[in-house]
Symmetry: C2
Subunit: 220 residues, 2 copies
């Protein structure tokens, strides 16, 4: 081992490079923008509840579609919102070094129920355009009654943390490298399929361009 290299211990330079936290806001925003379903954690009578829901964002806040969980958030309860993209399986030489390549963002804060109709409409627009770009303009927007029937939560993006793991297994330079086993990554990719027209419509009903062009593209 040459003197200008850090020693290869349990917490090597590689490990730190391959799985690390990030304090970069751009990483947070990229992870949020790559998905549209988060896991919202709340505490109900002392017990955790984790529900999937859809979200959108602007530069300061996350907007979440309220569901079962929102019933318990009336008083501005603490929440944790986690968005995770799984990018692949890390298949190492030892079971111990197996892992997952992923990008994950965790946001902590106090969820606020959005009640102002103008903010609610703006938040729903962000949420809709985040998951289904183009649909806010194309589809019929919420009327007053629908707006009232929708629960929208807002959460500041201030307190957030990011963890990312990329790259090969960690044991390519340790004693296990001598085993002669194959090691590497099995990548996992999420892909939009071709749009499936509602059977209530004639099958030849034209698919709008903003929907059609997503088919076959990568998601996540």
């Amino acid at each position: 081992m040459s003197a200008d290299r850090l020693p290869d211990t349990d917490l090597t330079r590689h490990r730190r490079l391959r799985e690390q936290g990030s304090l970069d806001r751009a990483d947070l925003e990229a992870i949020l923008d790559a998905g549209f379903v988060c896991h919202l954690g709340v505490v109900v009578e002392g017990r955790p509840l984790v529900v999937p829901t859809v979200y959108g964002r602007d530069g300061r806040q996350l907007y979440l579609h309220g569901s079962v969980a929102s019933r318990s958030l009336a008083g501005g309860a603490p929440v944790c919102v986690t968005v995770t993209h799984v990018d692949g399986l890390v298949l190492a030489r030892s079971v111990f070094e197996h892992g997952v390549n992923y990008r994950s963002a965790m946001i902590h804060g106090t969820a606020r129920k959005v009640t102002d109709p103008e903010e609610k409409l703006a938040g729903l627009r962000l949420l809709t355009e985040h998951s289904a770009p183009g649909q806010w303009t194309y589809a019929r927007r919420p009327d007053r009654k629908e707006l009232a029937a929708t629960t929208l939560l807002a959460l500041s993006l201030e307190e957030a943390s990011v963890k990312i793991r990329t790259g090969a297994p960690e044991d390519g330079e340790g004693p296990d490298a001598e085993l002669g086993l194959w090691a590497g990554v099995l990548p996992l990719t999420s892909v939009w399929g071709a749009p499936v027209t509602d059977p209530a419509l004639p099958p030849n009903h034209p698919v709008p361009e903003h929907v059609a062009r997503r088919g076959g593209t990568r998601h996540g």
Copy 2:
């Protein structure tokens, strides 16, 4: 509207058919078996914490790889584990009816740290084979030191709930159908890519059959 049909109200028969809870254990097991990353919710000092982690299972228990969260679980704290597969975007005629096709399982219980070395080894085997079938036999298994350094949690599968939404948007028969807009589903699929060999190995190192055959197959 004919007399033998239920009225098309806000909570129609269709809605109930397209998004519903399931009490079928087979649905729970199918959702768990279709994935390998869950979101584990715990309560830390009164606040929720939601972390992604890997899992495996047998017929009675879920085994989870312990992480940050496990530090707060020493005393057998309540947890909520949620596994979600996103199958597509539901693009309706109205923004209000937009949604997500998904399969989600939620397991409630008290996590137990596995300390018995035999159970720990068996649990790690389940967890490894669940995400990376074939690797328990192929890779070097944990030695005593590695086993001690691994935190494994067990959670009973007894208290679980399942929610599944499939199919077209809900507004194909209501007044919004008259708008003449396209509606349907944009499917989302997760696919394993071709294995990427660790750069520490010669690029022509043969990929074992149990890894190679997953490339190109559907996940989720």
